[in-house]
C-alpha cells in the first residue's frame, strides 16, 4: 500500500533523508528504530506532508496515488494518519470540536455523508472507551496543559476516530506508563485488519511486545541500514546502536 523509493528530503539545503526505500503491504506492521536525530520523525513528517521539508528526490506511492502530490488533508482523506511525536497545543479549540470537523471533512473526502450530532456522539463514546480517555480531556483546549501521556493518549483517540488505513505512530509510547502503553496498543490493534497497516517509530522494544511487528528497520543517518524480523528489535535492545558505526565503516 505504501511504496517509498529512494526518497531524499531535507530542510534549508540540509539533506536529512538520503535515499529511503520501504514497502509496506496491507495487514503489515513495520517498526522503525534508530538513534536520535537519524531522521525518523522527518520521514514521518514528509509522509504526512509537512511543507517545511523539501523533497529533493525519489517517490512515494500510497494506495496507487502519488502521495507527495497530495495536500496534507488529502493524505488523511486517503487514509494516512500520523500520531505526532510532539502533539501541538491549540488554546481555544477542544478535541471534540476539532474531531467533529476532522471526521466530517474526511468523510466528505471519502464520499460519505456527514455524521449528525447523535451519530458523532455515538462514535466518540465508542472510541473513548476503546482508548480509555476521559471526556474532560476532550472538552478542554487541545493538548493545552495535557501531561505527556495525556497528549499521546489523545493522539491514539484521534487515530481511532479517523480509522486510517496506514497509521504512523511517532514515539507514541514515550511518556506513557505501562498501562497506557497497553491501552494505546489495544487502540492500534483494534483498528488492525487485513487491509490496514501500521508504521511504529519507537526507541523501545517494550511497545513491540504489544504491537508485534512483522518487520523492524533501523534508520541511521537518513538511510535504512538494516531490516529484519521482530527479533531485530530484541537484538537492538541488547546491543544498542554501536554496531552501526562499525557496519557503516565496512560498507
Amino acid at each position: 500500500m505504501l511504496q517509498i523509493k529512494d526518497l531524499h528530503a531535507g530542510i534549508e539545503g540540509k539533506e536529512i533523508l538520503k535515499g529511503i526505500n520501504l514497502t509496506i503491504r496491507p495487514g503489515e506492521v513495520h517498526a522503525i528504530m534508530g538513534p536520535n536525530g537519524s531522521g525518523k520523525s522527518t520521514l514521518a513528517s514528509v509522509l504526512a506532508g509537512r511543507s517545511d521539508y523539501e523533497v529533493t528526490g525519489g517517490s512515494v506511492e500510497f494506495l496507487g496515488k502519488d502521495l507527495l502530490d497530495l495536500a496534507p488533508e488529502a493524505r488523511a482523506g486517503e487514509g494516512l494518519f500520523l500520531a505526532f511525536q510532539y502533539p501541538v497545543e491549540i488554546p481555544g479549540l477542544s478535541t471534540i470540536n476539532f474531531m467533529k470537523t476532522a471526521v466530517n471533512e474526511v468523510r466528505k473526502y471519502r464520499g460519505q455523508d456527514a455524521l449528525d450530532a447523535a451519530e458523532f456522539l455515538k462514535l466518540m463514546k465508542e472510541k473513548m472507551s476503546l482508548v480509555n480517555i476521559d471526556k474532560n480531556l476532550l472538552t478542554r483546549s487541545l493538548n493545552e496543559g495535557f501531561s505527556g501521556g495525556e497528549k499521546k493518549r489523545n493522539e491514539v483517540f484521534q487515530m481511532a476516530m479517523l480509522e486510517p488505513k496506514l497509521a504512523i505512530l511517532d514515539e507514541t509510547d514515550s511518556g506513557l506508563d505501562i498501562d497506557a502503553i497497553r491501552i494505546a496498543a489495544a487502540g492500534v490493534n483494534a483498528i488492525r485488519s487485513k487491509e490496514n497497516a501500521t508504521l511504529v517509530i519507537t526507541h523501545y522494544q517494550r511497545l513491540l511486545d504489544y504491537i508485534v511487528p512483522d518487520f523492524v528497520h533501523v534508520l541511521y543517518n537518513g538511510r535504512i541500514v538494516k531490516s529484519g524480523g521482530k527479533e531485530l528489535a530484541l537484538e537492538l535492545e541488547e546491543t544498542g546502536y554501536s554496531f552501526l558505526k562499525n557496519e557503516m565503516n565496512i560498507a
Binding site: 511543507s51 493524505r75 505526532f84 501541538v88 491549540i90 479549540l93 476532522a102 474526511v106
Partner: protein, 429 residues
C-alpha cells in the same frame, strides 16, 4: 466654504436657535472646538488615525430624519421583540421608532432631564469625558447636543431585558455626519445590559461621532456591549466613558468587524474603592478597514481591579491600533490592573500598532501588561490539516480558537449567538 466652517455655522445655528437647558453647554463646547480644532496626525492620540482627512470632504449635518421610516429595522438585534430599543437616526433620538418596555428604565430627552428631576446628575456628569479627551472631536459632539438622550436606571432595579441602542445614519440624500449623545445614570444597586450597534442606510459616506457617558453608582452592575459591523464607507468615533462613582461592576466588550475608519475611546474612571471592571475587545478586520481602540483606566481610589484584554485579527490591508493607558493615582494603593493585547496578522499588507502606557504614582500596586503580534501558527495549521481538515477550515478553526476567549465574554446568549454568526460568516464557515 470649508467643511469646518460649515460645521461651525451649523453648530452655532443649533446652539443659539435651540433655547433649552443645554444651550450653555453647547455654546461652551463650540468655543472649545474652535480652540482645539480637529486633531492632526501630530496629535499623539491620533497618530495612526487620520481623522482630519474626514474633514476635507463635505457633509450634511442635521439632516431631516423623520421619513427614515422602517429602514433602520434591518439592523435590529436578536430578540428585539422583548428588548428595549432606542433608535438614533443621524444623531437624533427618534422616539417614534423607539420602545421602552422595562420598569425602572427612564428615557428622556437630555435637555428635559437637565431641566427636571435629574438636573443635578446631568450638571455633575455631562461632559466629564472631555476631561480625558482633550481633542476637538469630543467637543464637537457636545456642541451638537440636540436630540440627545438621558437614560436612567432606577435604584435597586434589575432591568430585565437589554437596552439596544441603534446608531443609524441615513445617507440617501448625500454624505451624512451624525453625532449621537447619551448620558446614562445607573442608580445604586441597579443592573442593566446595554448594547450599542451601528448601521448605515444609503450609498454615501457616513460619519458618526458618538459619545456616551455612563455614571455607575454604589453596588450597580453594568454589562456593555458594542457591536460594530458597519459598511466600508462608514467612519466612526465612538466614545464610551464610564465613571464608577461607587463600588460597582462594569463589564465592557467591544466587537469591531467592519467600518471605514473606526476609533473607539473606552474610559474607565474608578472613583471609588473596590470597583471592578472588565474591558474586552475583538477586532477582526479586512480590506482597508481601520480600527483604533484607545482605552483609559484611571484609578483614583485604592483596592480596585481592572482587567483588559483585546485581541485582533487583521487581514487584507487593514490596520489595527491599540493604545491602553492605565493611570494609578498616588492614593490608589492595592490596585490590580491587567492589560493584554494580542494580534494575528493574516496578510503582509495588514498593520498593527500596539502600545501600553502605564503611569503609576502609587507604590503598592500590581500591574501587568503585554502585547504580541504574530502570524497564524503554522505548526497548528499542519497538525489540523494532517487530520483531514482542509486548509480553509483549519485556518478558521485556529482563528475562532484565538477569538473565543473574547467571544466567551458576551454573556447575553442571544447576542453571543448573533456575534458568533457574524464571525462564522467572516470565517466562511
Amino acid at each position: 466654504m470649508s467643511t469646518i466652517t460649515t460645521i461651525k455655522d451649523k453648530a452655532q445655528q443649533l446652539g443659539t436657535a435651540t433655547l433649552d437647558a443645554l444651550q450653555p453647554v453647547r455654546t461652551a463646547a463650540l468655543a472649545s472646538f474652535d480652540q482645539l480644532g480637529v486633531p492632526a496626525v501630530k496629535h499623539e492620540e491620533w497618530k495612526y488615525t487620520r481623522i482630519s482627512q474626514l474633514f476635507n470632504q463635505s457633509w450634511q449635518l442635521g439632516v431631516d430624519h423623520s421619513n427614515t421610516d422602517a429602514d433602520w429595522q434591518a439592523f435590529r438585534l436578536p430578540e428585539f421583540e422583548t428588548a428595549n430599543e432606542l433608535v438614533f437616526i443621524n444623531g437624533v433620538y427618534n422616539e417614534a421608532a423607539s420602545t421602552v418596555r422595562s420598569a425602572g428604565l427612564v428615557v428622556l430627552p437630555l435637555e428635559e432631564a437637565a431641566a427636571g428631576e435629574y438636573a443635578q446628575i446631568v450638571s455633575k456628569h455631562l461632559g466629564h469625558s472631555g476631561k480625558y479627551l482633550k481633542d476637538g472631536i469630543n467637543a464637537l459632539n457636545a456642541s451638537f447636543m440636540v436630540g440627545a438622550v438621558f437614560i436612567g436606571v432606577k435604584r435597586s432595579t434589575e432591568i430585565e431585558h437589554p437596552v439596544y441602542i441603534y446608531n443609524i445614519t441615513d445617507g440617501r440624500t448625500g454624505n451624512v455626519f451624525a453625532q449621537p449623545r447619551t448620558l446614562v445614570h445607573v442608580a445604586a444597586n441597579a443592573g442593566v445590559v446595554l448594547v450599542e450597534t451601528y448601521g448605515s442606510i444609503g450609498v454615501a459616506d457616513h460619519f458618526t461621532n458618538q459619545v456616551m457617558e455612563l455614571v455607575v453608582e454604589q453596588d450597580a452592575r453594568v454589562e456593555y456591549y458594542k457591536i460594530q459591523n458597519d459598511t466600508s464607507r462608514s467612519s466612526l468615533v465612538s466614545t464610551t466613558h464610564f465613571r464608577q462613582v461607587g463600588k460597582s461592576y462594569v463589564h465592557a466588550v467591544t466587537i469591531s468587524l467592519n467600518g471605514a475608519m473606526v476609533r473607539n475611546n473606552l474610559n474607565m474612571v474608578m472613583e471609588a474603592e473596590h470597583c471592578d471592571s472588565n474591558m474586552y475587545g475583538l477586532y477582526f478586520t479586512s480590506d482597508s478597514c481601520h480600527v483604533d481602540n484607545h482605552t483609559i483606566v484611571d484609578n483614583a481610589k485604592p483596592n480596585c481591579l481592572s482587567n483588559e484584554y483585546y485581541k485582533g485579527i487583521l487581514d487584507g490591508s487593514s490596520t489595527g491600533v491599540f493604545n491602553g493607558k492605565i493611570f494609578v493615582q498616588q492614593d490608589a494603593q492595592k490596585i490590580n490592573a491587567f492589560q493584554s493585547n494580542k494580534n494575528i496578522l493574516l496578510s503582509d499588507d495588514a498593520n498593527v500598532y500596539t502600545k501600553p502606557q502605564l503611569e503609576i504614582f502609587a507604590d503598592d500596586v500590581k500591574c501587568s501588561h503585554g502585547c504580541t503580534v504574530g502570524r497564524l501558527d503554522e505548526e497548528g495549521l499542519f497538525y489540523l490539516r494532517s487530520r483531514g481538515v482542509t486548509e480553509a477550515s483549519a485556518k478558521s478553526l485556529l482563528l475562532h480558537a484565538f477569538a473565543i476567549d473574547i467571544l466567551d465574554q458576551i454573556r447575553h446568549d442571544a447576542l453571543r449567538a448573533y456575534v458568533d454568526q457574524l464571525i462564522s460568516e467572516r470565517l466562511g464557515t
